[in-house]
Amino acid sequence: MRRFSLLTLLKEATNAHQGWGRQWRAPEPKVGYDAVIVGGGGHGLATAYYLAKEHGMRNIAVLEKGWIGGGNTGRNTTIIRSNYLYDESAAIYEHALKLWEGLSQELNYNVMYSARGVMMLAHNVHDVQSFKRHVYANRLNGVDNEWLTPEEAKEFCPPLNISKRLRYPVMGAALQRRGGTARHDAVAWGYARGADAMGVDIIQNCEVTGIRRGLSGAVEGVETTRGFIRTPRIGVVAAGHTSVIMEKAGVRMPLESFPLQALVSEPVKPVFPCVVMSNAVHAYISQSDKGELVIGAGTDQYVSYSQQGGIHIATHTLDAICELFPQFTRMRMLRNWGGIVDVTPDRSPIIGKTPVQGLFVNCGWGTGGFKATPGSGHVFAHTIAKGEPHPIAAPFTMDRFRTGRLIDEAAAAAVAH
């Protein structure tokens, strides 16, 4: 792997940037691997990276049916924060946030993590009480989160309309200063480059169509559009398509897949300094380094794999954005798109073993798993390598739906991104 540095940059600059090679190989699949990761999104690639780096498993492959990062990783609004209510959630998202803070150095790849602050708006008494509860719970867990008055919120984000005459006036906000955004593609590419350099085969255009199990029930390998690949360990990290793949191994999942939409405006000069989320009016907004306003909308109400979503969902969000930020009313939206998010009944992920020997799953990140990418890959790699869950991942078993030990972030906060 060629390391990026100021020196290499200068060298290439004198060479009209002709010398940059491909950042990862495009290998043919081998007959077999020690482990196979299904799904080349951020989570799958991070899993492969940490398997190779921390557990010495280098004879492994990531199988991606399209192109890496083309799923939700490349479609999300990149909000990163860790101020979740429950101890289990705070632990895993904070684990991820700590990794984000050093990720560009770790990967020698600029993932453009920008801790510009994530501000969640409270619009009613319930929001105020619930967010303050979060602030206190977070502090006990060593996670930064602070309460702002409407005036303080406006000072932090000048475009915000804090007029009391709004339909849903801003009654305060919870701010996590270490929260922010990152460049979605760069995360996938950085992990892919790092994993590839350690020998991991990243195989694109390779769809897993079946999971073969032996007489004992344990997995033997995966059927793919590029032939059968033998392996004793499979990690399924396929977001919205998890149910479809797990069904091939005879495992039914507590998941539903919904389209979730986002949209961007035409690019403008820097006007928006932070990330603002509002669960009550259903809107999320930040400004990318290119200058586009990046806006997240809600999910459709029905199960779908169509990667689009209803126009009324997006317009509903724009209504809210225009009320909170009246200066954006005349901006044009350039593009909108959808991703398929896999949602669990308690809105917390599932990371761990399955009833099938050798089959592991990392899914259920729903509308908010981008922020967890490094942490999720890190603990899932441990789980696959050791055959036992990493302590941080341990509460997130599939079995919690049988035992009743739910991690009910949905009820706690109506959490979205």
């Binding site: 009391k164 005459r165 709004l166 339909r167």
Partner: protein, 198 residues
């Protein structure tokens, strides 16, 4: 009549604060509130319609999403087992007792919702366009001719929409607490057509 103590209070005033009363018969859109009416919500199993096709002077046995009767008394079938019945405000007790008489022996519920609803008419050449700014239904002649009536949406508020005549005149029925929102919405949408508003 809209500004009763029950009416929702919307702090953010729309550009038109006061009702613009411009009695203009040639206006492309006319928006006006209706006077008080007697209204009932009737629930009756479909099977029990047999032998009770009419009650209180209106026909119950009509297709779903249609209206029958006159301005005086009407029956609107909102679903297989649900009707909205309307009549003059002072006739409420009479209507109730007539329904009781017609349906006696059957299992049904009759709830007086006279005070729950507010009626607004939207009429004129551009009426459908104004309604479509917040109502997703196809209001074209073929899809929503005179006599159609259904529950639907106006912006974020649930309404019952009826087409009363070929002018066309539409009646919007909404809950009282939504009525200022619905009326403001209609007025806002009608602005480009220089409406007559009462």
């Amino acid at each position: 009549m809209l500004k009763t103590s029950h009416a929702a209070h919307r702090d953010l005033s729309l550009p038109i604060e006061q009702p613009v009363t411009r009695p203009d018969t040639k206006a492309q859109v006319v928006i006006r509130p209706l006077p008080a009416q007697a209204r009932f919500s009737l629930r009756l199993n479909e099977a029990d319609l047999e032998g009770a096709q009419t009650a209180a002077g209106v026909t119950l046995d009509i297709p779903i999403n249609t209206r029958s009767g006159s301005a005086e008394r009407s029956s609107i079938r909102l679903g297989p087992n649900e009707w909205l019945l309307t009549g003059p405000y002072d006739d409420a007790e009479v209507i109730a007792s007539q329904i009781d008489a017609a349906l006696s022996g059957r299992f049904y519920t009759l709830v007086d919702v006279s005070h729950r609803n507010v009626g607004i008419t939207v009429s004129g050449r551009r009426a459908a366009e104004v309604l479509n700014s917040g109502c997703p239904l196809d209001l074209a002649e073929a899809a929503f001719p005179t006599g159609m009536a259904t529950r639907t949406l106006m912006g974020k508020a649930e309404i019952v929409l009826m087409r009363l005549d070929d002018t066309p005149t539409y009646q919007v029925e909404c809950w009282r607490s939504f009525s200022t929102y619905v009326r403001d919405y209609l007025i806002e949408a009608a602005r480009e057509f220089e409406p007559s508003i009462a």
